[in-house]
C-alpha cells in the first residue's frame, strides 16, 4: 500500500499553535490536527510512498522517539478516511 498527500491545491494548512488547522477544499471540512499529521503531509510531498519510505523521511527530518511502522500505518489510514491522503 502506498500513500500520497491529497492534491496540494485542495488543502489550506495553517499552523495555530501545537495544533494545525487544515481546510479540505474538496469536502469543505475543517480538521484540527496535531503532530505527526502536518509532518506526514510534508514528508509525502508530491510522492506516493509506502509506510517504510514515509518513516525513513520522517526519521531523516525529525528525531523520532518511537519509529513504529504500525502506528504510522494507523495514522495514514485515519488520514485516508478524512480524505487528506489518498491510497494508491
Amino acid at each position: 500500500m502506498r500513500y500520497r498527500a491529497a492534491d496540494r491545491a485542495s488543502l489550506r494548512i495553517v499552523p495555530l499553535d501545537v495544533l494545525t488547522a487544515i481546510y479540505h477544499r474538496a469536502s469543505g471540512q475543517t480538521h484540527i490536527v496535531e503532530a505527526p499529521v502536518p509532518e506526514i503531509l510534508a514528508a509525502l510531498g508530491d510522492d506516493a510512498l509506502d509506510v517504510g519510505a514515509i518513516l525513513d523521511r520522517l526519521a531523516r527530518d525529525y528525531a523520532l522517539i518511537d519509529p513504529d511502522p504500525a502506528a504510522l500505518a494507523d495514522r495514514l489510514e485515519e488520514l485516508a478516511a478524512a480524505g487528506l491522503v489518498i491510497r494508491t
Partner: protein
C-alpha cells in the same frame, strides 16, 4: 411596515398587528434606514392561525428563512418576536461576514469580543462597558469581514434578561428601555437602546484587540486561551462558518493567530469589568 439599518444590514419588518411595529419604530427611532431603501432581510410577524389575530393573538415569525416548528409567541411578546426574527435572518442568511455569536465593544479603535454560553453575561458586560464609555458594537453578533479581518458592529437593541434589567437600570438611569417582555422562553426580557454614540458610529469597523470567554458564578480567574482552542470555540460560536467555506476558514484562522484570547471567570459584574478593562 417598519425598516431599519443595523450596522451593515438593512431589515424590513411587517406585522399583522400594529403594536410590535409601533414599538420597533419608537425604540429604533434614531437608527438610519436601509441603504438605498433596499433591505437585505425581511421579517414577517403573522397570525399563527387566521382567527388568532382576533381571538387570542399569537405571533409567528416568518421571513426569508423560517424555523418550521417554532412555537407561536403571545402578542405581548411581539417586540421580542421581531428581534428574534431579525437575529434569525442574520444568523442564517448572512454571507458577506463571518458571524460570531459574541458581544463586542470598542474603545480607541480596538474591539473586544466576548462570547460564551447563554448566561455567561456577554450582553450585560457589553452594556456595562457601554455605560463606562465604550462604544457598543453589538450584544449578540460580531461580524468579521473576511476581506480585511476588521470587526463590523451589529448594535441592535440590547437584550437584557432577568437580573440584568435591574443592573442596567441602576447603571443607566437615563437609559431608554423597551416594554417589559415577561415570562418569555428565556425569562423576563427588557430591551435597552444603545447610546447615541454607538448608534452614530455603527458603520465604523474596528480592529479586533482581544477575545474574551467570560463565565459567571465562579471565583475570579484568568486563563490564556491558545489559538487552536479559540479557533474551535469560535467555530462553535459562529452561525455561518460552514456556509462560508474557505472564506470562513481564512477569516477565523487569521483572527485567532493575530488576536490574544483569555477565559475569565468572575463572581460579579464589577470584577468582570475590571478584568476586561485590564486586558484591553
Amino acid at each position: 411596515m417598519f425598516s431599519v439599518r443595523i450596522g451593515p444590514a438593512g431589515f424590513r419588518v411587517g406585522s399583522d398587528w400594529r403594536r410590535p411595529v409601533a414599538e420597533l419604530e419608537d425604540l429604533y427611532r434614531d437608527y438610519p434606514k436601509p441603504e438605498d431603501g433596499v433591505p437585505d432581510f425581511t421579517v414577517r410577524l403573522f397570525a399563527a392561525r387566521p382567527w388568532r389575530r382576533v381571538v387570542r393573538p399569537a405571533v409567528m415569525i416568518g421571513g426569508d428563512f423560517t424555523i418550521p416548528d417554532a412555537a407561536p409567541l403571545p402578542l405581548d411578546l411581539g417586540l421580542l418576536a421581531a428581534e428574534m426574527g431579525m437575529n434569525l435572518q442574520m444568523a442564517l442568511a448572512q454571507r458577506r461576514y463571518l458571524l460570531l455569536h459574541a458581544s463586542c465593544v470598542e474603545r480607541g479603535g480596538r474591539a473586544v469580543l466576548m462570547t460564551g454560553e447563554s448566561g455567561a453575561g456577554k450582553s450585560t458586560l457589553a452594556a456595562l462597558l457601554m455605560a463606562r464609555g465604550w462604544r457598543l458594537m453589538g450584544d449578540e453578533f460580531a461580524l468579521v469581514d473576511p476581506a480585511t479581518g476588521l470587526i463590523h458592529g451589529f448594535p441592535r437593541l440590547i437584550s437584557l434578561k432577568n437580573e440584568s434589567v435591574g443592573v442596567m437600570q441602576a447603571a443607566l438611569p437615563d437609559g431608554r428601555f423597551g416594554p417589559p417582555q415577561l415570562a418569555t422562553p428565556k425569562g423576563d426580557i427588557r430591551h435597552l437602546v444603545p447610546d447615541a454614540r454607538s448608534i452614530e458610529a455603527m458603520a465604523e469597523p474596528a480592529v479586533a484587540a482581544h477575545i474574551v470567554f467570560p463565565r459567571f458564578g465562579l471565583e475570579r480567574a484568568e486563563r490564556e486561551v491558545p489559538p487552536a482552542e479559540t479557533f474551535v470555540r469560535l467555530t462553535q460560536a459562529s452561525t455561518n462558518y460552514v456556509a462560508l467555506g474557505e472564506r470562513g476558514f481564512d477569516a477565523l484562522t487569521r483572527l485567532v493567530r493575530s488576536v490574544p484570547a483569555t477565559a475569565i471567570d468572575y463572581p460579579d459584574a464589577a470584577t468582570a469589568i475590571a478584568q476586561v478593562e485590564a486586558l484591553a
